[in-house]
Amino acid sequence: MADTSLVKIRNLSKRFDHLQVLDKVSLDVETGENLVVFGRSGTGKSVLLKCMVGLLKPDEGEVYIDQKNVLEISPNGLNEIRKKIGFLFQGAALYDSMSVRENLEFPLKKHSQMTDNEIDEKVINTLSLVSLEDAVDKMPSELSGGMRKRIGLARSIITDPQLMLYDEPTTGLDPISSKDISELILNLQKKLNMTSIVVTHDLICAEIISDRAIFLRDAKIVYEGKIHELAKSTDPFLKNFFSNEIIRV
């Protein structure tokens, strides 16, 4: 049977000083799947994402993206893999010194052979996907939190990535903006046929987006399944985690 996993993680471990953040974590993500990663603060969810793109070097383990081990590949090879990945950071990480247009143009100008007109058109089209065409000439400091997330999302998808990694995409947003962003992520995933890994605490976001969820605790994946299965679990820890949230399952 053909291997349909876009992401394969094997025995990934990471320690900061005396704190073991990830302990032999293994995970497969199928092409086109939306995986949500749950866990309490400081349980290594963001570290997992950063190890996947080579921003952090794990102590041991293997990470395969599109059949290539990102931890053993050359810097140029890693950059080729990174071109297939979009990453939405928690604070959107927009470049402060550039306008929205320049933020979106930046990866295209560096990596594509597109003409200025083609780049311009692509920027406007991508902004229309997040309904923010009017913000094209604004500076990041002029945008609200929700707008920054949307622009960050637009910048991440402008290179048509196969894999999208979201680090707490709805943190700091009001419930309505949070729901809007979650639905936007789902719509984009369907429209662009991407694989997504979403790190979040937001159960409403997870409910909208996820095909499958995993739960990190004590540096390991302790639960895995559909979101409603986790929410209905009789496990005391999961019951406690989900009891404080209103979730329609």
Partner: protein, 269 residues
């Protein structure tokens, strides 16, 4: 790039201070090595270098203009009574010219430049680091070191010599104003005295060391900003320590370069 992990505490003890000192030296050495590994590799980001030369250099002109003029003026005013004691007031233009061109112009300009630019770079890159903008660039398969660090260091290295020539000129002008206040002389006499006093060998070492100072200002600011951590407090620390370390290194390297100059050109003594 593997840099040593420098953990700051509010009141580090002696052993921690020693560790921080050597960690800084090691980190800065690795950072320099990384710069020379990247500086000759394309893409060369010419547009970014020009932008930084404008941002970091051209906008420093007002403050160095005032400083340069005052240095020359005060130097001449302070030197006059001393020279008068020895009946050597004729040498006032020579004293001002040699002091400014050989030492005061390059060093004072570099220190002012460090105060304005090194702290600015430290704060800007530090802010980019703690808000994950540098990580975002790296994930986009763009080399942030080449785009952010190499361009800034080249810009500071290129622009400081230009600023120094300008400051030297203004300091000599300031000196002239002081001379005509204290002595009845004219511009033609002052100009001839200055040109007669300054030899080619005086100009080159003074100017050559400004390339080193410009490099120090850029690399220290970038190092402190690029390796900042600890949120907004870390950004402030990066900004402050950039100025302190850059100023200290400028003075230390000035001492070393003056000694080297005197060994290579003993006629300058």
């Amino acid at each position: 790039m593997n840099l040593p992990d420098i953990k700051y505490k509010r009141r580090p003890n002696i052993s921690e201070l020693v560790y921080i000192f050597f960690a800084n030296i090691t980190g800065l050495t690795v950072f320099n090595w990384e710069f020379f590994k990247n500086v000759f590799k394309p893409p060369y980001e010419i547009a970014e270098i020009k932008k930084h030369m404008d941002e970091l250099g051209v906008k420093t002109f007002p403050i160095v203009s005032i400083t340069g003029f005052i240095i020359g003026l005060v130097l001449a005013m302070q030197s006059y009574p001393v020279l008068q004691r020895f009946g050597a007031t004729d040498f006032l233009p020579n004293t001002v010219a040699l002091s400014v061109i050989r030492e005061l112009g390059p060093v004072i300009t570099a220190l002012i430049f460090a105060g304005r630019v090194s702290s600015g770079i430290g704060a800007e890159l530090g802010s980019m680091r703690v808000t994950e903008q540098i990580d975002a660039m790296e994930v986009s398969a763009i080399n942030p070191f080449r785009y952010l660090v190499v361009t800034r260091v080249i810009a500071t290295t290129m622009i400081l010599p230009v600023l120094t020539i300008y400051v030297n000129f203004l300091a000599l002008l300031g000196g002239f104003i002081a001379v005509i206040i204290t002595e009845s002389t004219n511009f033609e006499y002052y100009k001839n005295a200055v040109i007669g006093a300054v030899e080619f060998g005086d100009l080159i070492p003074g100017l050559a060391k400004t390339f080193v100072f410009g490099y120090i200002v850029g690399i220290v600011g970038c190092y402190k900003g690029y390796t900042a951590d600890g949120g907004t407090e870390g950004v402030g620390r990066a900004s402050t320590t950039s100025v302190v370390l850059a100023s200290l290194l400028i003075l230390v390297f000035d001492m070393v370069l003056v000694k080297i100059t005197l060994i290579l050109w003993p006629t300058l003594v």
